[in-house]
């Protein structure tokens, strides 16, 4: 059993109060860390989770 990670050890930073100009003053490290976390959440790829094709009946012919 692995030790569970603390839930908020790396949660997203609220940037909504910053202007476009202020964003340019953020540390590289903070931004890169945040990107790493986003990639963790999405797997780094296309981030398409949910192609949902089975919820409704299909008229697909038998083949």
């Amino acid at each position: 059993m692995r030790e569970r990670r603390s839930a908020l050890e790396c949660s997203l930073v609220d940037l909504t109060q910053l202007s476009v100009r202020e964003l340019s003053k953020l540390d590289d490290e903070l931004l890169e860390d945040a990107l790493r976390r986003l990639l963790h959440a999405c797997g780094g790829g296309g981030r398409l989770w949910s192609l949902n094709i089975l919820s409704q009946p299909s008229d697909k012919p038998y083949s």
């Binding site: 059993m1 692995r2 569970r4 990670r5 603390s6 839930a7 908020l8 050890e9 790396c10 949660s11 997203l12 930073v13 609220d14 940037l15 909504t16 109060q17 910053l18 202007s19 476009v20 100009r21 202020e22 964003l23 340019s24 003053k25 953020l26 540390d27 590289d28 903070l30 931004l31 890169e32 945040a34 990107l35 976390r37 986003l38 963790h40 959440a41 999405c42 797997g43 780094g44 790829g45 296309g46 981030r47 398409l48 989770w49 949910s50 192609l51 949902n52 094709i53 089975l54 919820s55 409704q56 009946p57 299909s58 008229d59 697909k60 012919p61 038998y62 083949s63």
Partner: protein, 617 residues
């Protein structure tokens, strides 16, 4: 679930805060209860994510972009700064666009750098790169009526103004960069060969018709005081990430979409009001997809394009309401995951997801389970308000989804990959689903749901699971020697393979039986839609169905017939042995296949089942 993490600072003066979701917040969200306060928190987080992505793109462009891109990004950034000082809401609107996130993600995931040279050579299929930020800046400036001049990209004569529409210039064979100018009164798009006027009315909701201007349709729906306002956008180049072709909408198509959306919205507001309110706050764009002829309707969402739901026109408004609910949950969970991690690592294992024909990774199983928790809640409510004629279908949907979703959540709950927050989230999902499991549904509904569940599960196992060959050889030897079977239920784990799908026709017919009776009748009546044995099975003529399946299995290694046969046998005797058989169906089929290969007399499937089952008694 509280943060002890230090708050980051901006310079000496501004202290940045981190988003927090308390244990109660996580539990509410996991149960599908997205209050206005939580919806606002998630929306704010998604805006922060897009701001973060923007700044990362800006810095990445300055390090890796071409000199032309660097200049374009600088010009656009300056424009956005200027507009923000006067009209900050417009910049928020631009940053919130789902296509903004999709474009930024493409830049950061390096999908664009290889395309730069193609783009500069005028390749019309080259992806948009860093410089596409000018298109967003141009839209912001047009909305703010802020005079500007920017270079924006053109592909095959088409200039995209994200969220507004596309201008089709007469330079249909030209790709590259054109200048967009706005003097304060009139906007012009200037290419090397000509100048095209931009219809300024395009920036207002009541845009004037102009043959060169193809606006993004806006849909505003109001029902019982709840308004849904969204774009019906099948043209934005960054809505292609759903991996499915965008629909080409005629005027008639747009009307059909408006009608189905309006009717679905009434259902959602009338019956699922709190969710409808949260959906209205979250959804900004519907991306119409092609509905390939003969296929079932589709839908999709992407965490890089939060606020957008892509889907084909659904069977009816009730199906659309269900689909919107499903995709809404994906958007919610995407935002939760952006705020905090729910799992700390992802293994390479693939899992059974009852709503998919293919094996799914852990994170997709979590996403799917959460989306279907929303679907369970949807059908629970629909069941309560359904007319007598619709009650049966709603009850079967409820019985079906509550069982398969709980099954998936049990898998998730057993994982040690979950973080503390992830465990809170998944265990709450589990508790919510368990509470639905004790609600009464009729025996008929349970039985119909169970038949669909078993068919899908068996088909998935026989499609994707390959038992250990050594274990099968051992079984073959014992069978051939006339010995009793060993404890076959402990056959080593099978290998999951993602390919070779079996026909989904029987599954489609089983679902159509309660959802779409006309389609179900076509399954039974139209020659070639289903094999004869399946038709007998669906008509309840189990003896004839078994004969058909056995005959096909005698003739060849017919896995589809094995699925049908075990479905019938399970229906006839839902014993512990049969339940165990379900979890080893691929063993029986593989064993039968190997005995046949050895050229021995071919046993009947039932003989093999009995022989194996005897070892468990």
């Amino acid at each position: 679930v509280e943060s002890q993490h230090p708050q980051p600072a901006l310079g000496q003066t501004v202290q940045l805060r981190r988003y927090r979701l308390t244990r109660n917040d996580l539990s509410a969200l996991a149960a599908g209860n997205v209050s206005p306060r939580l919806a606002a928190r998630l929306l704010s987080a998604e805006l922060s994510k897009h701001e973060l992505l923007f700044e990362l793109v800006r810095r990445t462009a300055s390090r890796r972009g071409s000199s032309a891109d660097v200049a374009r990004v600088k010009a656009a950034t300056k424009m956005l700064e200027q507009i923000q000082t006067r009209k900050p809401k417009i910049i928020e609107t631009i940053f919130t666009l789902p296509q903004f996130g999709a474009w930024a993600a493409d830049c950061l995931l390096d999908r664009t750098s290889a395309a730069v040279s193609r783009e500069e050579q005028g390749d019309s299929s080259a992806p948009f790169g860093f410089g596409y930020i000018t298109a967003f800046a141009a839209v912001a400036a047009l909305m703010a009526r802020h005079p500007f001049e920017l270079d924006v990209p053109m592909r095959s004569g088409i200039v995209t103004f994200p969220s507004l529409g596309q201008l089709h210039t007469e330079d249909a064979d030209i790709s590259g960069w054109v200048k967009v100018q706005f003097s304060g009164d009139q906007a012009m798009v200037i290419s090397r060969s000509r100048t095209t006027a931009f219809p300024m009315a395009a920036t207002s909701p009541s845009s004037s018709p102009d043959s060169r201007w193809v606006p993004v349709s806006r849909v505003n729906l109001a029902a019982r005081g709840v308004t849904l306002s969204l774009a019906l956008d099948a043209q934005d180049p960054f809505f292609d990430r759903f991996g499915l072709p965008l629909a080409r909408l005629s005027e008639e198509d747009v009307l059909a979409w408006r009608k189905q959306l309006a009717d679905a919205w009434k259902i959602l507001v009338r019956t699922h009001r709190p969710k409808a309110k949260a959906l209205a706050a979250t959804l900004t764009s519907i991306v119409p997809l092609d509905h390939p002829s003969g296929e079932c309707p589709i839908s999709a969402s992407s965490g890089w394009a939060s606020g957008a739901i892509a889907l084909s026109l659904q069977l009816d408004s009730l199906s659309l309401a269900e689909t919107l609910t499903h995709e809404f949950h994906h958007l919610v969970l995407g935002a939760v995951e952006d705020i905090m991690p729910l799992y700390s690592y992802v293994d390479a294992d693939l899992y059974y997801a009852p709503w998919r024909d293919d094996p799914r990774p852990f994170r997709e199983l979590l996403q799917g389970a959460y989306a279907h928790l929303g679907v369970v809640a949807f059908w629970e409510r629909q069941r309560e308000i359904a007319k007598a004629s619709d009650y049966g279908a709603a009850e079967i949907e409820f019985a079906y989804w509550r069982k398969v979703t709980l099954q998936a959540v049990e898998t998730l709950n057993a994982s040690d990959a979950l973080t503390e927050a992830g465990l809170v989230f998944v265990s709450t999902m589990r508790a919510r689903l368990a509470s639905w499991r004790i609600e009464h549904v009729s025996d008929h509904a349970e039985a119909e749901a169970e038949e669909i569940i078993i068919e899908h599960y068996l088909r998935w196992r026989l499609t994707h699971l390959y038992p250990d060959p050594a274990a099968i050889e051992k079984l073959v030897r014992r069978w051939s020697a006339g010995l009793a079977a060993p404890d076959w239920f402990v056959t080593p784990a099978a290998v999951v393979k993602p390919d070779s799908l079996l026909s989904t026709a029987r599954y489609g017919a089983l679902k159509a039986r309660h959802r779409d009776p006309a389609l179900f009748r076509r399954y039974l009546q139209v020659r070639g839609k289903l094999p004869e044995a399946d038709i007998a099975f669906l008509k309840g003529d189990y003896s004839k169905a078994v004969q058909g399946y056995l005959s096909r299995i005698r003739e060849s290694h017919d896995l589809d017939a094995w699925v049908g046969l075990i479905c019938v046998r399970y229906r006839e005797a839902e014993s512990d042995t049969m339940k165990a058989l379900l979890k080893r169906a691929e063993v029986v089929a593989s064993l039968h296949y190997r005995i046949r290969e050895y050229g021995n007399s071919i046993p009947s499937p039932d003989e093999l089942i009995e022989w194996l089952a005897a070892s468990t008694e």
